[in-house]
C-alpha cells in the first residue's frame, strides 16, 4: 500500500450562486491525517466528495500521483475509489440484514478479483477493531461497534487513501475517541492518506493538518505535529 500524495490545484465548484468550494492548493501526504474542519454548511463534505471523485469540480484538478481524478470518466473514478480508497460515513451505512463479516466484505461483490481482500483479512480487521463476530445481524451491534465495522469495510482492500465523513458525529465521546485513534493509526502505522471531514475536537486534536473551511474557502490551514 505505498501511497501517493493527493494534490489539489485551483479546485472550484459552484452549486448555487455562491461558490461551494474554492480551494487554490492543498497537498495531502501519505501517512498523514488531514481534518477538514468547520461548521455545518462550510463545505467540508463537498470537498471530501471532490477529493474522492464523487463530485467533479467545475474547475481545477485533484491529482493522485500523476492522474487527475477530475479528468477521469465516471467508471474510472468508480474503479479508483474501489481499488485505492476507503470510505467511512457519519451514519455508518452498513447493511443491517448482513452479518458484520459480510458487511466488511461487501466491496468484494463488485471489486476487481483479488482487489478487495479475503474473508480471513476481514475477520482479522474485525478482531483488530474489537468487533464481536458472533452477531447474525449488524443491527445488533452498538453504534461504536457499527462504526468500527464500517472502518473495517473501508480498510479491507488495504487502500492507500481513507476518507471519513463526520466519522464520530453519531457516537458518544468514548466511542468517538476510539474511532479517532483508529484513523490516526491508519495514517501513522499503516501509512495511509487519511482525510476526515469533522468538527469533533478529539479528531482535530489528532490531525497532522487541519483545513478550516468557511463557505467553501480555507479560512486557515494549520499543519503540525498532532497533540
Amino acid at each position: 500500500m505505498p501511497g501517493l500524495p493527493l494534490r489539489v490545484t485551483g479546485l472550484r465548484l459552484q452549486l448555487g450562486s455562491v461558490p461551494t468550494v474554492d480551494l487554490a492548493e492543498l497537498a495531502l501526504e501519505p501517512g498523514t491525517l488531514t481534518v477538514l474542519f468547520g461548521p455545518s454548511g462550510a463545505g467540508k463534505s463537498t470537498l471530501l466528495y471532490l477529493l474522492s471523485g464523487l463530485l467533479v469540480p467545475d474547475e481545477g484538478s485533484v491529482f493522485w500521483g500523476g492522474t487527475d481524478l477530475a479528468a477521469l470518466g465516471e467508471r474510472q473514478r468508480d474503479r479508483w475509489r474501489g481499488t485505492q480508497a476507503g470510505f467511512v460515513f457519519q451514519n455508518f451505512h452498513l447493511i443491517d440484514e448482513l452479518t458484520p463479516l459480510d458487511n466488511v466484505r461487501v466491496t468484494t461483490l463488485f471489486a476487481p478479483r483479488g482487489a478487495a481482500g479475503g474473508k480471513a483479512r476481514a475477520r482479522e480487521l474485525l478482531e483488530q477493531l474489537r468487533v464481536p463476530l458472533d452477531r447474525s445481524r449488524t443491527a445488533l451491534l452498538s453504534r461504536g461497534e457499527q462504526q468500527r465495522v464500517a472502518i473495517a469495510r473501508a480498510l479491507l482492500g488495504d487502500p492507500p487513501v481513507l476518507f471519513a465523513d463526520e466519522p464520530t458525529a453519531s457516537l458518544d465521546r468514548a466511542a468517538g475517541q476510539q474511532v479517532a485513534k483508529i484513523l490516526r493509526d491508519a495514517a501513522t502505522i499503516d501509512g495511509r492518506t487519511v482525510v476526515a471531514a469533522s468538527h469533533d475536537p478529539d479528531v482535530v486534536a489528532l490531525a497532522d493538518t487541519v483545513v478550516t473551511l468557511d463557505h467553501g474557502q480555507p479560512a486557515s490551514i494549520r499543519s503540525g505535529v498532532p497533540a
Binding site: S45, E74, A85, F89, D96
Partner: protein, 424 residues
C-alpha cells in the same frame, strides 16, 4: 460482480412488502392461468364426452339442445322424431349401431336413460362388471353410480314416483294397446305403473354424465310413458330390430355408421323437413367459437389487469427503491460501478416478478383443477385442467414484460446522483 447478497438483503429489508408484491403478482398470473387452463379443460372434456356419439339424428330444431340432452343428459325438452323416420334410422342397413335414446325418469336424481345394450357397450367400451341387460326390467349403471349389481331400483317418473310395481306387472304390460300413443312428447307423459329395475351390470368410466346414469332398455322407457314399445304385441324380446308399426317417436337416435362415407351419407339423408342429423363435433365447434370469443375477451381483460398489476408494482418498487437510494449511493461511494447498482435494482424487481409468476402458475393450475372438479361434479363431464404451452407462454410473456419494465426503476436508481443519496 455478484449483486445477489445485496438483492437478498433488500428483499429482507421489507419482508412484508416483498411478500405482498409477490402475492399480488401471483394472484394476477393465477387468474390468467386458471381462465386459460379451465377453458381448455372444458373444451377437451366436452369433446371427449361426445367422442362415441358418432352421428345424432333428431327432430328439426336446435342441435345444441339435442346434443345437451343426448350426450350431457341435460333435462331439456326436445321434439320427437316421427315414428316413420325413427323406423328408417333404427333399421338402416348402413348403421352398425342405431340406438334410440329416451329420457324422462330418474332414480334419486340420477337420470334413467333408455337405449339398447349394443350402444351401452359401445359407449362404455365393454362393461366393467356384470352383463348387459337382456330383459325389460334390467338395468346397467354408470361407473360412478352408487347402485350395486343385484340392487333393485324404484324409478321416479318425471316429478312423481312410480315405485311399487313389480317386474311381472311390467312384463304383463307388454301387451298394452299402443295405438293411442303416437302423438306423445316428452312434456306430456301418460304416467303408468311400471316395474322395478334390477341392476345387472356396470359400465366403464366414460367421462360423461352417463357415468351417473341408470341405463335401461328403451322398451322400459317407452313402457313407462305408455308408448308402443317397438315390437309386435306378444313379443317379449328387447332391442333391435324394431317393428316399424310399433314404434313411437323418439327424442334422438345415435348412429354408429359402418364407415365414414356412410356417416356423411346418413347426415345428408336425414337433413330433411322432418329430421336433422349432425356430428356432435359440428355443434361443439360452434359452441367453442362462442366460448373462444368469451375466453378471448376474458384473456384480454385478464392481461389488462395483469399489466395494471405490474404497473402498480413497479410504482411501488420505485417508491421502495427510492427509500433505499442512500444504500445504493453508499455502494457507489464504495466503488460499485453503475452496472452493479442497475443489476441490484433490476434483480430486485425480477425476483418479485419471477417468483410471483411461478407461484401464480401453480396457484392457477390448482384453481383450474378445483374449478374443473366442481364443474365435473355439476355436469358429470370429466375434466382435467392441465398446464400447457398456452399457459407457459402466458407466464413467459408476463415475466418478459416484467423484466423489461423492471429496467425502469433500475434506470432511475442508476441515474440518480450519488451525492444526493449520501446527503439524504
Amino acid at each position: 460482480m455478484n449483486p445477489l447478497p445485496i438483492v437478498w438483503a433488500n428483499l429482507r429489508r421489507n419482508p412484508f412488502t416483498t411478500v405482498l408484491f409477490v402475492g399480488v403478482v401471483a394472484l394476477a398470473v393465477a387468474l390468467g392461468i386458471a381462465i386459460s387452463a379451465q377453458e381448455r379443460a372444458l373444451r377437451q372434456g366436452s369433446a371427449r364426452a361426445a367422442d362415441r356419439f358418432d352421428l345424432i339424428v333428431a327432430a328439426p330444431g336446435s342441435p345444441t339442445d339435442v346434443l345437451l340432452s343426448v350426450v350431457y343428459l341435460d333435462p331439456t325438452a326436445v321434439e320427437l322424431l316421427p315414428p316413420d323416420v325413427s323406423a328408417g334410422v333404427l333399421n338402416h342397413p348402413r348403421a352398425a349401431i342405431a340406438a334410440p335414446i329416451g329420457f324422462g325418469d330418474n332414480i334419486e336424481g340420477d337420470p334413467v336413460v333408455g337405449t339398447i345394450s349394443a350402444f351401452v357397450e359401445h359407449l362404455s367400451g365393454g362393461l366393467a362388471d356384470g352383463r348387459p341387460f337382456t330383459a325389460i326390467n334390467e338395468a346397467v349403471v354408470g361407473a360412478l353410480s352408487p347402485h350395486a349389481i343385484g340392487e333393485t331400483l324404484h324409478v321416479a317418473h318425471g316429478e312423481g314416483s312410480f315405485g311399487g310395481a313389480d317386474a311381472d306387472a311390467a312384463a304383463d304390460s307388454l301387451d298394452h294397446d299402443h295405438d293411442h300413443a303416437d302423438d306423445h312428447d316428452e312434456a306430456e307423459h301418460a304416467h303408468g305403473d311400471h316395474a322395478d329395475l334390477v341392476v345387472v351390470g356396470r359400465m366403464q368410466p366414460t367421462g360423461t354424465p352417463w357415468d351417473r346414469a341408470v341405463v335401461v332398455p328403451i322398451e322400459y322407457n317407452w313402457l313407462a310413458h305408455d308408448l308402443p314399445i317397438g315390437h309386435a304385441a306378444g313379443e317379449t324380446r328387447i332391442g333391435p330390430p324394431f317393428d316399424p308399426a310399433a314404434l313411437p317417436g323418439v327424442p334422438a337416435i345415435v348412429v354408429k355408421p359402418v364407415d365414414v362415407a356412410t356417416a356423411y351419407g346418413l347426415r345428408g339423408e336425414y337433413r330433411t323437413a322432418q329430421s336433422t342429423a349432425f356430428f356432435p363435433a359440428e355443434v361443439l365447434v360452434e359452441l367453442y367459437a362462442v366460448l373462444g370469443d368469451v375466453a378471448r375477451v376474458m384473456s384480454a381483460l385478464t392481461f389488462a389487469a395483469q399489466a395494471l398489476v405490474i404497473a402498480a408494482i413497479l410504482a411501488g418498487v420505485v417508491a421502495i427503491l427510492d427509500l433505499q437510494r442512500q444504500r445504493f449511493a453508499v455502494l457507489r461511494a464504495l466503488g460499485a460501478p453503475p452496472a452493479f447498482v442497475f443489476a441490484t435494482a433490476w434483480l430486485y424487481v425480477a425476483f418479485i416478478v419471477v417468483v410471483g409468476s411461478a407461484i401464480g402458475l401453480l396457484l392457477g393450475w390448482a384453481a383450474a383443477g378445483l374449478v374443473s372438479q366442481l364443474v365435473a361434479g355439476e355436469t358429470g363431464v370429466a375434466m382435467s385442467a392441465s398446464i400447457g404451452a398456452t399457459e407457459v407462454g402466458l407466464v413467459l410473456a408476463i415475466v418478459a414484460t416484467g423484466l423489461v419494465l423492471a429496467t425502469l426503476p433500475a434506470l432511475l436508481i442508476y441515474r440518480r446522483p450519488v451525492v444526493h443519496g449520501l446527503r439524504q
